[in-house]
């Protein structure tokens, strides 16, 4: 067999056809991977309403938002006092480390410290930022109620049972915890005086 082939033409066709085939095969991946993203009805269920006046003073309730647990705490004046004065023990006292620990409604220094729109009603994603366990609410001071699961100078807050992360009563992570960040906050707003729309 003699070889009269135009090799540059052949190579061009080879690369063009092969390249187009590779693009087509790559494009086929889009719908398959896309189908594994949250479906439209899952996304539509992304907002939750809650009546915060149903939470008694000093009490914590856990509700669901987007399938995730959310803490809602009605903080007493005493509890609000106990988030002050220990900034030196916190990794990120002003919640500036990353986007998930702050929100647009944190427009004053007070809201940034309280991590809530109304000082008393704290709304947080209830997942430890270490590996996602739900921390235990340990609101009273010292080791009286909690034993040595919390330090002697405990000002009240959350203790994660999985790997011992500690958060104060604003959900700010305490130095020495394995968790890297404060508990996450989310967008929410007051529809009425006491009804919040989360998400």
């Amino acid at each position: 067999m003699t070889d009269h082939a135009d090799h540059s033409r052949r190579n061009f066709l080879y690369v063009a056809a092969g390249g187009l085939g590779a693009v087509a095969a790559g494009a086929t991946i889009v719908p398959f991977v896309g189908s594994m993203l949250p479906a439209a009805d899952t996304l539509a269920a992304s907002k939750t309403e809650f009546e915060v006046s149903t939470v008694a003073e000093g009490q914590l309730v856990v509700i669901q938002w987007q399938g995730k647990p959310v803490f809602i705490v009605n903080r007493t004046t005493d509890m609000l006092n106990r988030i002050q004065g220990h900034d030196d023990k916190l990794k990120d006292p002003m919640s500036q480390a990353m986007s998930d620990v702050q929100a647009d409604w944190m427009d004053t220094e007070e809201k940034r410290i309280n991590r809530s729109i109304k000082p008393e009603y704290l709304v947080l994603v209830a997942s430890c930022t270490h590996l996602g366990c739900i921390p235990l609410f340990k609101p009273t001071e010292g080791q009286k109620d909690w034993g040595d699961s919390v330090p002697a100078d405990w000002a009240g807050g959350w203790h994660c049972p999985c790997h011992g992360s500690l958060y104060d009563l604003s959900g700010r992570v305490v130095n020495g915890s394995p968790a890297p960040n404060n508990l996450h906050v989310m967008q929410y707003k007051y529809m009425t005086d006491t009804k919040v729309l989360i998400g």
Binding site: V30, P31, S35, M36, A40, D41
Partner: protein, 405 residues
Amino acid sequence: MIESMMKTRLFQWVDARTDAGSIIRSQLTEYPAPRNLNYMWNFGSLALLVLVLQILTGIFLVMYYKPSAEMTAGGFTVAFDSIERIMRDVNFGWLIRYMHAVGASAFFIVVYLHIARGLYYGSYKGPRELLWIIGVVILLIMQGAAFFGYLLPWGQMSFWGATVITNLFGAVPVIGDLISEVLRGGFAVGDPTLNRFFSLHYLFPLLLAAIVGGHVHALHVVHSNNPEGIDIDHEKETIPFHPYYTIKDAFGVAVFLIPYCYFVFFNPEAWGYFIEVDNFVPANNLQTPAHIAPVWYLTPWYTILRSFESKLLGVAAMGASLAILFVLPFLDRSKVRSARYRPVYRQMVILFFISVLVLGYCGHSAPTATLKLVGQIATAIYFGFFLLLPFVHKFEKTKPVPERI
């Protein structure tokens, strides 16, 4: 491309531990394929492509499909609603589902053409008898998988199709009712039926993948037949499978994808042939649709079933019409393979193809007296083909076959 890939150090490392290189050479780059294969030889690779597409789309559909006949608050069932959710809410769910639904019909189209090729060119004859028999097993598993899959949307056709077919087995003497109950998991088609059909619909493609592997292996032992149907010189009359037939198969894929994509994107129901209109109505065990018919690819056998007055005889004939395919290689005694050189067989096999098409048409239409008669004649031709086959070689004057291709 393969050659340069095989020169890399990574490949050398793998090759030293798996002998992958000799597999690629013996099965692909040096696999001898007859140099005169025509486009009818494209349907095997197309069937493999569709099988892969069906498994792939099926795996992704199962991420959202829920096999439950429990009622939902909306008054439908969990299964039916999960399909509607796939269609409306899941990203690209409509595309993946339509690829799967159209793919089922596409699978049968290419496989029926693949079988017709084998019949016309005598590919079932020695030494390829077992290759053919493995192929018949693949056909039966495909039909089972398609039947199980059709129940899953839990529409009216799903429900009543499954009712009719599971009741067929009730015709078997003595143990018929037992078989029906084992298939259905109850006294009627219901939630247990849906769950076990779903399980089997997932199992059967796994069997298919394994048996298709056996089919290809058997093919590579006895090698491809060719349009002339003669034994060939493996040195002089073959070309390597790669690149010649990989390119030709790739071209076939490109041509196949044109109608496939047309139906997937523009006409997934195919005028009620691929997805029957009644299946958009949720299953109702208290009301049968006005006209019950299987999907087109099962209608020929459905007509054979309907052509007999006795239920048992109909079921037996339907079973025989498929079972007889197993013995086809032993019924045909002619020494010539290809219909090109067998004038009588050529007429017979073309008439056989027509009879299958007529059977398919009859099975898809509502039963009338005329169509019943037409169906019975077509059934007679279908079986007549096989009954005449053992005697054809006695009177058929075959044309001289060429020495070389």
